[in-house]
């Protein structure tokens, strides 16, 4: 490292310090809305207890027995080949308003874990919107994202990635 560089770093730091000390511009974003919960004790989701699901549970039928929706890389739009599966669940849920489902979103293992939680949530929300648009009540739907934490398939190849980018439609008891 040259002497010149050693001198320039403190100079840059000083510049930065000056910049951050400048009076701040008025914000052009509205003040923060309240937190997305009314809950102060913490627990909110009454469905959120272990043992409320049975992995094999759900209505029978050629389409209804398919309860996994797969996604393309870096995408959260429902593919054409999954539309009929989502439509079948929407029709069933609309006819059975007491039935609740949890939409479990997942990502493949590439990238950062918490960011992948966000990607899984986006996919869960995409299925949720599609179901709601087709007549399912919001109260029947909840989402959870497991990101890359609960892969369906092991391995670091395209086949495993494709099986892991998914939303599982879980029928709650």
């Amino acid at each position: 490292m040259t002497i010149k560089k050693l001198v320039s770093i403190p100079a840059l730091l000083a510049t930065l310090a000056l910049l951050s000390g400048c009076p701040s511009k008025k914000p052009d974003v509205p003040p923060a809305p309240p937190a997305p919960t009314t809950d102060t004790t913490g627990v909110e989701d009454p469905n959120a207890t272990v043992g409320d699901t049975d992995a094999t549970a759900g209505p029978p039928g050629e389409l209804l027995s398919k309860r996994i929706v797969y996604f393309d890389f870096d995408r959260s739009d429902i593919r054409a080949d999954s539309q009929s599966i989502v439509a079948a669940h929407a029709a069933y849920l609309a006819k059975n308003p007491a039935q609740k489902v949890r939409l479990e979103g997942h990502a493949d293992e590439r990238g950062s874990r918490e960011y992948n939680i966000g990607l899984g949530e986006r996919r869960g929300q995409a299925v949720r919107r599609a179901l709601a648009l087709q007549g399912v009540a919001e109260t029947q739907l909840s989402t959870v994202s497991y990101g890359e934490e609960r892969p369906a398939a092991a391995g670091s190849d395209e086949q495993a990635y494709g099986l892991n980018r998914r939303v599982e439609i879980v029928y709650l008891k």
Binding site: P36, T40, D45, A48, V50, S145, A153
Partner: protein
């Protein structure tokens, strides 16, 4: 420093696990070191039988120093004399055997089950003798005393405090999908003294240390949905601090330990950053953007760095919690930068970056924006700074299994911590422990 540091792309040493492997241990391998490590002779210390429990203090110290890739210990078989005081060290003789330094010392039993370690450092090139350091440790954990001696010796020679007497936390995963078992562990920085903090059939992720090293925050899905917990490391006392609708994720302590920066999504699925006051539960929203905002971390001055894909792909942004200014983008190199971590001096940003099709660990100088990719794997993640700022620990993959790796912030020294069972990931380096060492 006069070290001529050149890369050496092969394995230099293999350090095998210490005694008492009652459970799966982490094993450290230096994968890349400096070509010209400092030769040092760590002579076996005078023992205190039986108070030292048979621990080879000199061996622990030598392994610590070698684990940095900057030292090469003299094999014991080559030692003609085994002095235990500096006065007995024949400097010219050790110099003739190509050593730069000699470490000698003594272990002695104190009252109340405490054991004292005294060490002396001799620079055989100059003949200078440095007495001390010494450390006092309970006999039940004499290793911690040995690590403290190594910390002080490292500082005397290199000029930077060592980070051997520190802990790491990490997540371990066993079993095949979809039935996996998740565990959260705390271990010494060399992988010894592993203690299980939590086990669950559902995911555990994002562990974070409190600044005093007494608490761990983490995300657990044990209720099938995400919730953030803080757990006292010693008592195991665990408190759920956020289980709101939607995502509860990415906890990170404020520098004063009183707040957590967290990610919440609400039921509409929009991830934003919040500050949670731990004592009151009061929540303050820091971001409001339809994109994914997550992985917040607070720099020593309180500035918040986080990942956001508001520009279309994940990049690092920063904001000041006190100000209403818009977050400013910090990273401009590459199409994917995520999981920011800030060095203890606040001058460097470590992150996960997409580099030539691979996810690697990079470091960015916050003053001039220069970015250096430090790792060479295909799928790495979760960088975390050592409290002395000299090393990063991160998760990599080896033969399809998650392993822990370390790299020096100059990229010259790399090491791997292998678990002999299961997959390990999400390492986080804890703070310096309260010191009892005397200089």
């Amino acid at each position: 420093m006069k070290l001529r540091m050149k890369k050496l792309a092969t394995c230099l040493f293999l350090l095998t696990a210490a005694a008492t492997p009652a459970f799966a241990q982490l094993r450290l391998t230096i994968t890349e070191g400096v070509t010209d490590p400092i030769p040092i002779a760590v002579v076996p210390f005078a023992r205190a039988v039986p108070a030292d429990g048979g621990l080879d203090v000199a061996e622990v110290i030598q392994r610590d120093l070698e684990s940095t890739g900057r030292f090469k210990g003299m094999p014991r078989n080559d030692m003609v004399f085994k002095p235990t005081t500096a006065a007995e060290v024949d400097a010219p003789g050790w110099k003739q055997q190509h050593n730069d330094y000699v470490v000698v010392g003594r272990v002695s039993a104190l009252a109340d089950g405490q054991v004292r370690i005294d060490a002396e450092l001799v620079n055989v090139l100059t003949g200078q003798r440095v007495s001390g350091p010494y450390s006092v440790a309970p006999a039940s954990n004499l290793r911690s005393g040995a690590h403290r001696i190594a910390d002080a010796l490292y500082e005397k020679i290199i000029g930077v405090k060592g980070a051997f007497a520190t802990r790491i936390a990490y997540v371990s995963v066993d079993g095949k999908p979809p039935t996996q078992r998740y565990e959260l562990y705390v271990a010494d920085s060399d992988g010894a003294n592993r203690v299980r903090i939590l086990a669950s059939p559902l995911p555990i992720m994002s562990p974070a240390w409190s600044p005093d090293g007494e608490w761990l925050a983490y995300v657990s899905f044990e209720r099938r949905v995400s919730a953030i917990y803080v757990q006292h490391r010693r008592s195991g006392k665990k408190t759920m601090v956020s289980a709101r609708a939607g995502i509860n994720g990415a906890p990170s302590y404020s520098p004063d330990g009183k707040k957590l920066a967290i990610t919440l999504s609400g039921s509409n699925g929009n991830l934003d950053i919040y500050l949670l006051e731990l004592a009151t539960g009061e929540l303050k929203r820091l971001t409001d953007d339809p994109g994914i905002d997550t992985e917040a971390v607070m720099a020593p001055d309180g500035t918040v760095y986080f990942t956001s894909d508001r520009s279309g792909a994940p990049q690092i942004y920063r904001l000041s919690p006190g100000s209403n200014e818009r977050p400013k983008r910090v990273t401009f190199t590459g199409s994917y930068n995520a999981r920011p971590r800030i060095s203890p001096d606040g001058k460097q940003l470590a992150m996960l970056t997409l580099d030539q099709g691979s996810y690697r660990i990079a470091i960015q100088d916050l003053a001039n924006g220069a970015v250096q990719v430090l790792s060479k794997g295909r799928q790495e993640e979760s960088p975390s700074f050592a409290p002395n700022g000299a090393m990063l620990i991160f998760a990599g993959r080896e033969r399809g299994q998650g392993v822990l790796q370390t790299v020096s912030v100059d990229g010259q020294v790399s090491a791997r911590l292998d678990a002999d069972a299961g997959e390990v990931r999400e390492p986080v380096w804890g703070p310096f422990l309260p010191s009892t060492i005397q200089p």
